[in-house]
Symmetry: C2
Subunit: 241 residues, 2 copies
């Protein structure tokens, strides 16, 4: 089973205090780019893999989605998601993305934000997502970029008067343990090639791959994001069944 | 026009002394991986974009390709390619990949090794390659990996006792000038996302994306390649029309 760090008390408290946990999608700088990859949602049956507090589920319904299923492994996150949702067309279910049990051909859109880099068995999950989509269905997701997850000691360094992001271990895939909000958070590093080839082997057709960077307008509003143009932190992918 | 550094006397002398210039494909550590992406060549009409000394053209004929056209911008390289080729089914032509003029639907396989990162107008070239392929045709190529081309000062650094490759400027695409074999070699840095999306927009279907790393056997034979598992230097792509 994937490490369920989100139910760790310290981690949950820290995560709950992040801007994106308080303000939702508006505080997720990459969301406009991810949103641009989505189909028109009107009437669609949507599943959100790693739904967290349910921000996307509620937003998708606001955009006209017919129904939304949010799944997550964290009881704490699902409890808050349920408490903040009154819409009967949104349902939440506790499930581990390592052992997905999704109904066959039941969704038109699968969505996942920053969850797949916790999953050890990506191949099993992607095959399940493919089977859970109806023909013509779409899968749109974000993960932490491999340049971000690779290093043995991730962080900025001042080198020759420039802000740089030293990379090592890029080709050695597997678990990376970092201290982020709590000690010992385990994420799975894998290359872009592995993400793409695992999707293709699962039967998906790739339609877009994006190494996210803030726009000029976002940079002007958030000078503290400066480093985000030096190395990508998010990888955004859109594909179809 | 793309900088034609290969006709620079100093560069050409240095390039001609590289193992892969002396020993051909056997000295290109990534070639086995690239070769694994090729279709069976028997009877195929092949075009090699940036054919250099013609090593691949001659190899492809040896594998049974029906005809091979090698194109390159470098007169020096083409002169040696022609001098080393006696096979009438191989032809060489001088052409700039910035202004491709390829016959329509004339090839079953387009191949390119480490040439596309010199090309400024990638979109125009990929559209021309797509149009030059017959239905069902394949395009297999390698380029320098964006992690390799991005940095303002590419190179290894010893950081915290580890060999690391500092990255900056990854999201800022465009020309990078480095001193490699000669001063002022200009290469075009672009993200993996841009390579992939430009292919998709040109009409290709992606079938494989690989961030090349040496195998355990290659590492054992070449301990000096150690860094090649820390960060990728080559990106290999296979796609279909």
């Amino acid at each position: 089973m994937t490490q369920n760090i989100y139910d760790d008390e310290t981690f949950f408290a820290g995560y709950s205090a992040l801007p994106r946990s308080i303000h939702g999608l508006d505080a997720a700088p990459e969301f406009p780019s991810l949103r641009a990859l989505l189909p028109a949602l009107k009437g669609l049956r949507v599943v959100d893999l790693g739904c967290g507090f349910g921000w996307f589920c509620r937003w998708a319904r606001g955009e006209g989605a017919g129904s939304v299923l949010g799944i997550d492994v964290s009881e704490r996150m699902l409890a808050r998601a349920k408490a903040e949702t009154t819409d009967g067309a949104i349902t939440y279910a506790r499930a581990d993305l390592e052992t997905p049990e999704l109904p066959l051909g039941a969704f038109d859109l699968a969505y996942s934000s920053l969850a797949l880099h916790y999953v050890e068995n990506l191949e099993r999950l992607l095959k399940a997502v493919h089977a859970a989509l109806a023909p013509g269905g779409r899968f749109v997701f974000s993960v932490e970029h491999p340049i971000f997850t690779a290093p043995s000691e991730p962080g900025w360094r001042e080198i020759g008067g420039r802000k740089m992001w030293p990379v090592d271990g890029y080709l050695d895939e597997g678990a990376r343990t970092t201290d982020w909000l709590a000690k010992g958070v385990v994420k799975q590093h894998r290359t872009i090639g592995t993400y793409v080839n695992t999707l293709l082997h699962a039967g998906f057709t790739l339609s877009h791959l994006e190494e996210w960077a803030p726009t000029a307008a976002q940079m002007a509003a958030h000078p503290e994001w400066e480093g985000e143009r030096e190395r990508p932190s998010f990888l955004l992918v859109a594909c179809g069944r």
